[in-house]
Symmetry: C2
Subunit: 157 residues, 2 copies
């Protein structure tokens, strides 16, 4: 009886206790549409995490989201962060620091606004920087963007 | 007789005397593959012409050229130059300054390495910055890149 009760208890555990579903690596994203770019320099509050030059890419579903304001399930936005190398009055792209991902699935990632958040370190497709910590590491900062479906960027023509 | 001679003379005029064929505006280039980006700051020798943040885009044929080193006819490379606005330790994209184009057709633009060169001012699809001056305004600087089919940029993974 104790064993049965334990099994029932586990089965009824709230969804919050479960680890979030892993976010897949965005294969082929370099062929997706370039949304916009930006450089974050030393002295900026986000420099430790996001210093360098970053480019945002959107798959076809995410592009419809940028236009309508509502991102359908399957939307993927990639934040591609590279080192910024300055020399001879230029700023050039250096090594990849991290590849940040937002992957929309309203059911799968219901605890973080319907978005799965992940970061792949450097050029790795497996070395994850976020994992179970999406709520504190990503979602908390995206929360104020709720009226834009938690997305900061806008498509730059 | 004089008239006939004149007509024959005109018909035999060297190709150099003809204006280059106009380079078409690259419709849909914002959906093409992003090749790489760079910032050119004040103090750089090219700052007057190309100061700001630029992105390079390639259509599918040009992508094969970046990989093989030989760009097939129909390859189009776009140099999208935007103002670089610096504030609060960031560099952000501003207004479009010029859209530079290289369009490959070995016959049509045989006098400039098989490439048609053009610049569209700002967001205009008709206001041309280069026109008849491609040889001096573009090709002269691209000439040293002959072993790379006159292209400066390389695809950044």
């Amino acid at each position: 009886m104790l064993r049965t009760a334990l099994i029932l208890s586990l089965a009824a555990a709230p969804a919050l206790a479960a680890d979030p579903a892993p976010v897949p690596y965005p294969e082929g994203y370099r062929g997706w549409t370039h949304v916009k770019s930006m450089v974050i320099n030393a002295g900026h509050p986000l420099h430790d995490a996001f210093g360098g030059i970053h480019h945002l890419y959107a798959n076809k579903k995410a592009l419809t989201g940028y236009k309508s304001g509502n991102f359908p399930d399957g939307s993927v936005i990639v934040f591609d962060l590279l080192e910024a190398k300055t020399a001879d009055n230029t700023l050039q792209e250096g090594a990849r620091k991290v590849l940040g991902i937002m992957h929309k699935d309203a059911k799968k990632w219901q605890d973080t606004g319907g978005w799965g958040f992940e970061g792949f370190k450097g050029d790795s497709k497996t070395d994850r920087a976020v994992g179970k910590n999406a709520t504190t590491a990503c979602y908390a900062c995206h929360l104020p963007q709720k009226d834009k479906d938690f997305v900061f960027s806008a498509y730059r023509k």
